[in-house]
Amino acid sequence: MRTLLVRVAAGLTLALISPLVLANGWNMPIGVTALSREIHSLHMTIFWICVAIGVVVFGVMFYSLFRYRRSKGAEAANFHEHTGVEVLWTAVPLLILVAMAVPATATLKNMYDVSDAEIDVMVTGQQWRWRYEYLGEDIAFTSNMSTPREQISGEAEKTENYLLEVDEPLVLPVDTKVRLLLTADDVIHSWWVPELAVKQDAIPGFVNENWVRIEEPGIYRGQCTELCGMDHGFMPVVVEALEKDEYEAWLAERKEAAEQEAMGVDREWELAELMERGEQVYGSICASCHQADGSGSPPAFPALAGNTDMLDDVEWHIDTIINGVSGSAMPAFRSTLNPVEIAAVATYERNAWGNDAGDTVQPSEIVELLEE
């Protein structure tokens, strides 16, 4: 009778829990790499072990609470300490843990094996964006959240990938082992894509390694998971996995665009051109601190609109953008932005929101400054 009761209770519990744990969006995703499947299966194994222990332990507990109520006339027995039982309940959990440690060790060793990677990508965390650099390919770009601020403030309808969309995703080929080298420029960030089962801290002064081999083309979304300041919640990670030939095509296209941009450095730019480009750069890079209308949020983030220090001294202005201000939240954009972008954003800041410096900063000037 008792065993039957236990069985019924166990069955009911399982029946109640299983739709929850199997439902999509309630559990860890199985993911699209061999490693993510391995981790998912470890997760489910340890989960079911916990459920089993829970059923036994809570079963005995609630049985006792029900059966030995004083209101039903239960009288307390007088027993305590039993070496056999105590040895058993120490040894059995120990064995379960050893059994669990074996597959966990194997998976961990697999995760740490970064050898034989075909592509190396440097991932750099910055407040509050990711920068990707394809080592040996001369391609580098930053990836900023592209969800409009109006959606966040509720002035516009939130769309499907709210907070999980970027202007430029990290593009990777499928069936290729990619080594990720992670670091950061300012504070600690953490790069995570659940479906790739890759999470690794990006730490200033350190280069961490991890790797991924994606098996299915698609778009995979994640977020920064280490508190990194004000816009920590607005620093998504998006990876687009392409078939190998599509990836090659993408790579060629990016290289050509980079060459185009490099050629633009030598020519004279019009104010209107620089303003247009600058507004775009400002919106994705600067607006999160200095605000879209240049009002900033003092004292941490000074206003740029009507900022006379900046307007009166163009050299200091450019130097601040290139080298940052040490000891403050203003990072150096020397390696994040290219000369055209630096020139454009400086020009934009000097001529937007009622600022009327009227001058332009040319990309060629920036190139000279960077070479110094």
Binding site: M28, L42, R69, E75, P93, W192, P194, I203, T225
Partner: protein, 544 residues
């Protein structure tokens, strides 16, 4: 001159305290406010600690409700991300250092001398000092909210360099306040150790001490071991911020990961500081209301000691994704899994104590039973987090938030509430109002689970911690959590009502307020007079 202790009979032992009061040779006691400022009585200082803790519990709770209100829906509605970060940070700091730790110290102040038959704490004036450091420390901490640049906003774990190079100016005040709280803890711990080792009633050996005393003894050693590490790490921060050093700044040749090693070498034992006294409380309450001796007293003591020792060997399981070498990763995974063993032993002991008991469900028992179930659920998620490869997916998500709130809220906080209900008759002379206590219990249990259970799902589905806004697929979980938090928060007003009513009146409690209670505190009258055990009781081992 040799002291002669009369051997008290049970009747006498309830009157020794009165006798002690009569022939006392005390000075005129200060009245009004100065009575509380200058008091050296362990009972009054205990009450001060508990009242302080309750106040902080509500302040920290309001911060949590601000966080939950912002997270009620996707989008930014109420607060700016900058202020949101200040709220999560202050909530954590206040709850850990201002609410839970002082509550346990308050309980130790009240109950350790009563449980070992001591007249007071060993160092009463130091006791007064260690309490009064706390209001100073936390006034300072709360004042940072009104400073330019705002309060600390880098999470309660204050990882460098976010908390150094990139921190608001108020960080220096935060460091000072944490130093003060740390000094208070160290002094309190020294006092508790001195009391337990020196002032036990004649005849009471170490292995006769109630488990609350045992767990606090071990906790006090943990405090003395790790609070200086915290002091060291925040001093290094102070130097980085104000004196141009670069302990944690990579640009100056420092090491941001060193901060995490130091912080968690303090932080992990700290976690056990927050839970070991709770084990002691539950180990007192369950035998009382099961009317049956604790199944394995000795193994409980051993398990507590094992957990304390292992707590120094597992700190880097908080750092599985910072890029540790493989060997370190394996070492900390194995060591962490080992902790599950003594923790399991504790749970098994409680349950075996219930087995074939004669069980009743008074309010302290309700909270203790909820503790066993919900703490165990927190233990299960802890076991899952110990599996290093899986932790790469869990780390810094709401799954972790669910885990540590399960061990801290229905864990530590429920144990504190159980203790309050258990010992209120001893403190006030009245039983707490039974119906209202039950209302408080059921609302709290429902509220806590509504708040924290959905966090397991949102975390597994991919929601990171400490974000002020979230993607749309997490909306339902967050809405439930926020409603649960509101319910849990509001139901604590019932708790205050019960306490106030109990202080002012209610059903009278005898010296032995609970039928199955055995320890020495139940031999003094209820309410316990200001002076107890001025003549040490002669401890007699209960015969079974």
């Amino acid at each position: 001159m040799a002291f002669h202790f009369p051997k008290p009979t049970p009747e006498q032992s309830t009157t020794t305290a009165d006798a002690g009061l009569a022939d006392s040779h005390h000075h005129e006691r200060p009245r009004g406010l100065m009575r509380w400022v200058l008091t050296t009585s362990h009972k009054e200082i205990g009450s001060l600690y508990l009242i302080f803790s309750l106040t902080m519990f509500f302040i920290g709770g309001i911060f949590a409700l601000v966080v939950r209100a912002e997270l009620f829906q996707p989008g930014l509605q109420l607060v700016e991300p900058e202020f949101f970060n200040q709220m999560t940070t202050m909530h954590g700091l206040i709850m850990v250092f201002g609410a839970v730790m002082p509550a346990f110290v308050g309980l130790a102040n009240w109950m350790v001398p009563l449980q070992i038959g001591a007249p007071d704490m060993a160092l009463p004036r130091l006791n007064n000092f260690s309490f009064w450091l706390l209001p100073v420390a936390f006034t300072l901490l709360l004042s940072t909210l009104f400073m330019p640049g705002g309060a600390p906003n880098f999470g309660w774990t204050f990882y460098a360099p976010l908390s150094t190079t990139y921190a608001p100016p108020s960080t220096t005040f935060f460091i000072l306040s944490l130093h003060l709280a740390g000094i208070s803890s160290i002094l309190g711990a020294i006092n508790i150790i001195a009391t337990i080792l020196n002032l036990r009633a004649p005849g009471m050996r170490m292995m006769d001490m109630p488990l609350f005393v045992w767990t606090w003894l071990i906790t006090a050693f943990l405090l003395i071991a790790v609070m200086p590490v915290l002091a060291g790490v925040i001093t290094m921060m102070l130097m980085d911020i104000n004196f141009g050093t670069s302990f944690f700044s990579a640009a100056g040749g420092g090491d941001p990961v060193l901060f995490q090693h130091l912080f968690w070498f303090f932080g992990h034992p700290e976690v056990y500081i927050l839970i070991l006294p709770a084990f002691g409380i539950v180990s007192a309450i369950i035998p009382t209301f099961a009317r049956k001796r604790l199944f394995g007293y000795a193994s409980m003591v051993y398990a507590t000691a094992s957990i304390a020792i292992l707590s120094f060997l597992v700190w880097a399981h908080h750092m599985f994704v910072v890029g540790l070498p493989l060997v370190a990763e394996l070492f900390f995974m194995y060591a962490t899994m080992l902790i599950a063993v003594p923790t399991g032993v504790k749970v098994f002991n409680w349950i075996t104590t219930l087995f074939r008991g004669s069980i009743t469900f008074e309010p302290p028992m309700l909270f203790a039973l909820a503790f066993v179930v919900l703490f165990t659920i927190g233990g299960f998620s802890g076991l899952m987090l110990a599996i290093a490869p899986a932790d790469f997916q869990y780390h810094d998500t709401y799954f972790v938030v669910a885990h540590f709130h399960y061990v801290l809220v229905p864990g530590a906080v429920f144990a504190i509430m159980a203790a309050v209900y258990y010992w209120l008759p001893k403190w006030t002379g009245h039983y707490p109002h039974e119906r209202l206590s039950q209302v408080h219990f059921w609302l709290s249990v429902i509220g806590v689970n509504l708040t924290f259970f959905p966090m397991h799902f949102s975390g597994l589905a991919g929601m990171p911690r400490r974000i002020p806004d979230y993607a749309l697929q997490f909306a339902d979980f967050n809405m439930v959590s926020s409603l649960g938090a509101l319910l849990y928060g509001a139901s604590q007003l019932v708790f205050v009502l019960v306490i106030v009513m109990c202080v002012r009146g209610g059903k009278k409690a005898p010296a032995k307020a609970w039928e199955g209670a055995e320890d020495l505190e139940w031999s003094v009258p209820s309410p316990a007079p200001l002076h107890t055990f001025e003549t040490p009781p002669n401890f007699e081992r209960p015969v079974h």
